[in-house]
């Protein structure tokens, strides 16, 4: 087990933020307020989550585990839209469906198929793994969504030229769909490439701090990485296809007018 941290030690760590605040003040970066707000917010969020998780762990019942998972998924689905500069009606639902479908599917496979956790809703495994899967799927979904919606506007001339020549909506959008899915997968591919060399992943480090042997920790990390990349790929593909369905109608028309700027949506 790792060394426990007392409230006094937490305060000591918080003092480190003074370095950034001082820097901001001396260099007139005007970031002092933001640093304090972000720090307080992070601390409160994490303490609350710690409380809730402790409570969920103690209940040993599937309902609170699924409930907390759904709340996390809704928030992730919302956050994935946040980055898109263009939106269409129904974009939040599409984003949620993509995040939910891929994360829950892959999380389920990981828990009951690969790690064989019994019971499957064992919160000690289900919640943190879902959290990691959601975080990465959210990134993939958000990048794909942003890329697809902006590509469709940028390449509108070429897409409509193809449609005018008799292309189906699928043929006309194919290039944009591929580009969007590829964009969504880049972060996971990048992080896999440097994992263990440039970055020591948080989960593995955490397990080692908690006294798990590096060998076991590494195996967990490998399993997680495969689950993450599969979920991210699936989420990117799903959200791109959903956005495609929303922006191209059954008469093979590009409905660019359904896209609005961030403020109007």
């Amino acid at each position: 087990m790792s060394v426990p941290i007392s409230p006094v030690q937490l305060l000591l760590a918080a003092l480190l933020m003074l370095v950034s605040v001082l820097l901001s003040w001396r260099l007139r970066l005007n970031l002092g307020r933001q640093i304090v707000v972000a720090s307080v917010r992070m601390t409160v969020q994490l303490l609350l989550v710690g409380l809730i998780l402790g409570w969920v762990f103690a209940l040993r019942h599937p309902l609170p585990v699924v409930g907390i998972g759904l709340v996390m998924t809704v928030l992730a689905g919302q956050a994935a839209v946040g980055r898109s500069s263009r939106r269409y009606p129904g974009i939040y639902l599409d984003s949620f469906l993509a995040v939910f479908g891929s994360s829950f599917l892959l999380n389920g496979l990981a828990l009951s198929g690969i790690l064989q956790v019994r019971p499957w809703f064992e919160a000690q495994y289900a919640v943190p793994i879902l959290g990691m899967v959601l975080g990465n799927t959210l990134t993939g979904v958000s990048l794909s969504l942003d890329r697809f919606t902006s590509d469709v506007v940028k390449e509108r001339g070429e897409i409509e030229a193809l449609l005018a020549l008799g292309a189906t909506r699928w043929e006309a959008a194919h290039g944009s769909i591929m580009a969007a899915v590829r964009t969504g997968m880049i972060p996971v591919l990048n992080s896999m490439a440097v994992m263990g060399i440039v970055s020591l992943p948080g989960m593995m480090t955490g397990q080692i701090l908690a006294g798990v042997s590096p060998n076991t920790a590494v195996r967990y990390q490998i399993v997680i990485m495969f689950v993450l990349s599969a979920s991210s790929a699936l989420g990117s593909l799903a959200v791109t296809l959903l956005a495609f369905r929303a922006l191209f109608d059954a008469q093979d028309r590009l409905r660019a007018e359904r896209l609005m700027g961030k403020k109007q949506a």
Binding site: E158, A161, A164, D249, Q251, D252, L254
Partner: protein, 211 residues
């Protein structure tokens, strides 16, 4: 061949045209006229099925637009935009591109015909240029030849020769005239701001009147 009845178009709450009817017969050369902003391009886009119809219907060969599979419909009623957009390959690759689409899968790319049209338009050396280096006028020529090779029934020309110099415009008009006369069921619909061009190429005018 192609007819439309009771079409209406509004943009931002403003009615551009309504109760609009038109008839295009085989061999017709129709010029759509009207001031800038009267929605002539939007009319051509509606005829090509690129924008949804607000009211009325468009009928091609006795069959309503909404009952056609759109790729097939658009291979018959082909829209040529004022500023054609291309990918990144050569002119030859761009000319071939539509022949890779499902709707044209029964046809093979007619290279000799392409060369003949390019020669007729005064650009026999065109095929191996990269499309990213083309000028606006050259892009229009490429789009024009590409559409002619696909032999639609109705060609919708949206200022499709506006970036050409007078000589090239003239040869393009002649080429289009030849093309239209060469088939039994072909027609042209022009949108052109140039009254002299309309007088040269059109047999009929359809005024689009702002409301």
């Amino acid at each position: 061949m192609l007819s439309a009845s009771d079409l209406r178009r509004t943009v931002g709450g403003r009615v551009l045209w309504q109760g609009l009817n038109l008839q295009v017969q085989a061999g017709d050369r129709l010029a759509v006229t009207g001031p800038s902003g009267s929605g002539k391009s939007l009319l051509l886009r509606a005829l090509a099925g690129l924008d949804p119809l607000e009211t009325g219907e468009v009928v091609l060969q006795g069959r309503s637009q909404s009952r056609w599979p759109m790729p097939e419909y658009r291979s018959q009623v082909m829209y040529l935009p004022q500023r054609p957009a291309f990918g990144q390959g050569t002119v030859l690759a761009e000319l071939r591109r539509p022949f890779g689409l499902k709707v044209h899968s029964g046809r093979s790319f007619p290279l000799d015909e392409a060369e003949r049209w390019l020669a007729a338009l005064g650009r026999p050396d065109f095929l191996n240029l990269s499309v990213t280096t083309l000028s606006g006028g050259e892009g229009q020529l490429l789009a024009l030849v590409r559409a002619l090779l696909l032999s639609p029934s109705v060609l919708l020309l949206d200022e499709a020769t506006a970036s050409l110099d007078p000589d090239a415009t003239h040869t393009a008009e002649i080429a289009l005239d030849q093309w239209c006369a060469a088939g039994p069921a072909r027609a042209l619909v022009w949108v052109s701001h140039d009254p002299a061009q309309r007088a040269r190429v059109a047999t009929r005018e359809l005024p689009v009147v702002p409301q």
